[in-house]
Symmetry: C2
Subunit: 260 residues, 2 copies
């Protein structure tokens, strides 16, 4: 099942994507829904972020080559995370598929993408074991964790480096019933594939994150867990288009524009 | 004007506090309201957190004695923040006045309170100057930024140390029309006053935080900015009651209980 959320005359509503059609629903993926008779052309609807999470959790340093790259970039030795690294982010930075990433005027050249699998929580959850962890997941979407690398050095909370307005493209769809440990991710900059990786190479899996988070936090319906990216990341410039494609979910595409 | 938010048969609604009465309103402080004829006894309503913020911003190391204390505690030299320190937190840790702070079983003795003034944003805001910064503020409430100090050392994101379930008591009221640069704060542990300070001694004022945040983030109605605490903080144990009183707002009171 593939969920989308779209604008209906100023009101966000949910739909189910089938091919190039959207079946409008009453309700939502979290509290129950009923299909209506309304069918829309997917190309004609204005997609919104598929959910506005009560809390946006973000993992970090979660793929082997990215750990090595980040250490080289910082001039330090790579440090393998002994447990999942968790942070939270503002939701004000969320933008939808096809909306523009705005590069702040004072950002340096090191303004980069990070293509990530995002787990969307479907129900309230606390104290989950690793084995039952995925039971609370509704499905998966795609995130681009835009990062200004020079700001990141002095910003332990990443509130500016990773969290400014438009720094969190997410979407286009939430796909249910797929295995988060075996999905192919491709990242393209202006149409050129820059990296391809499988989510099975995550250092800590979605289930590990959920087990750890729910030891201390109650996860809520709509919360999202961003799971980190792989490899070296590259600079983006105004005019560039960045696409992140994840198998069985879709393509998240955004253009970079200048703030001024 | 003093706002409260309370439970009305499972539905959160807003009211205006006048003495020991609550005037129930239609609407809310952000989108307009109308007083109803319903008057309730303040002592009889179940208060909720006065707002669930889209984003909970948290300042840090923002009072001189606390900067010195935190450095002594960490065995380092005090470092004066050259600009406001900003982070964001999960909202799942919010609890209301008179609800219980749950001390996790694996928390150490260093489980502490932080009494803080909290600014509540009233309208969408971006690119505010310091002079116009306070125009976007609806009013002020009280926060207790509960902190596990040993976890804090290894937790740059503070997601566990300051962000676990029940670690963010907030309330009881939002007071409008008061000056955030001259409010007396008193913190009492089991009825004994442990510290008294004035918000005028903040290193970075509410206006500084708003100016800095809105350079990069769009503030949204209901967002909260927690502004840090003063002085040394003390351990709390199950059975303790912690009260934070701020002039013209009220008293935020919570009891500590054990997780198990």
């Amino acid at each position: 099942m593939k969920w989308c959320r779209f604008d209906n005359g100023g009101v966000p509503i949910y739909g189910l994507v089938e091919g190039d059609q959207v079946i409008q629903v009453d309700g939502d993926p979290f509290n129950g829904h009923r299909e209506t008779d309304v069918r829309l052309d997917l190309g004609q609807v204005k997609l919104l972020v598929p959910v506005v999470p009560p809390t946006l959790y973000a993992g970090g340093l979660n793929y082997p080559d990215h750990v090595v790259w980040a250490a080289e970039h910082a001039g330090t030795a790579p440090v393998w995370p002994k447990e999942p690294i968790v942070g939270t982010r503002a939701t004000s930075g969320l933008i939808a598929h096809e909306e523009n990433i705005v590069k702040p005027d004072d950002a340096t050249e090191e303004f980069q993408y990070e293509g990530e699998l995002v787990a969307v929580i479907g129900k309230t959850a606390k104290y989950l074991s690793r084995e039952e962890a995925l039971d609370c997941v509704l499905g998966y979407t795609i995130g681009n964790d835009v990062s200004e690398r020079t700001w990141q050095r002095d910003d332990p909370n990443n509130w500016r480096a990773k969290d400014s307005d438009t720094f969190h493209p997410m979407g286009p769809f939430i796909t249910t019933g797929i295995d988060p440990t075996d999905l192919e991710v491709k990242v393209r900059l202006n149409g050129d594939e820059k990296i391809r990786f499988n989510t099975g190479t995550m250092i800590w899996a979605v289930a590990d994150y959920i087990q750890k988070i729910t030891r201390y936090h109650t996860l809520q319906p709509g919360d999202t867990i961003w799971t980190g990216t792989e490899g070296a990341t590259l600079n983006m410039y105004p005019g560039d288009t960045i696409e992140i494609e994840i198998q069985d979910i879709g393509i998240l595409r955004n253009r970079v524009v200048s703030e001024s």
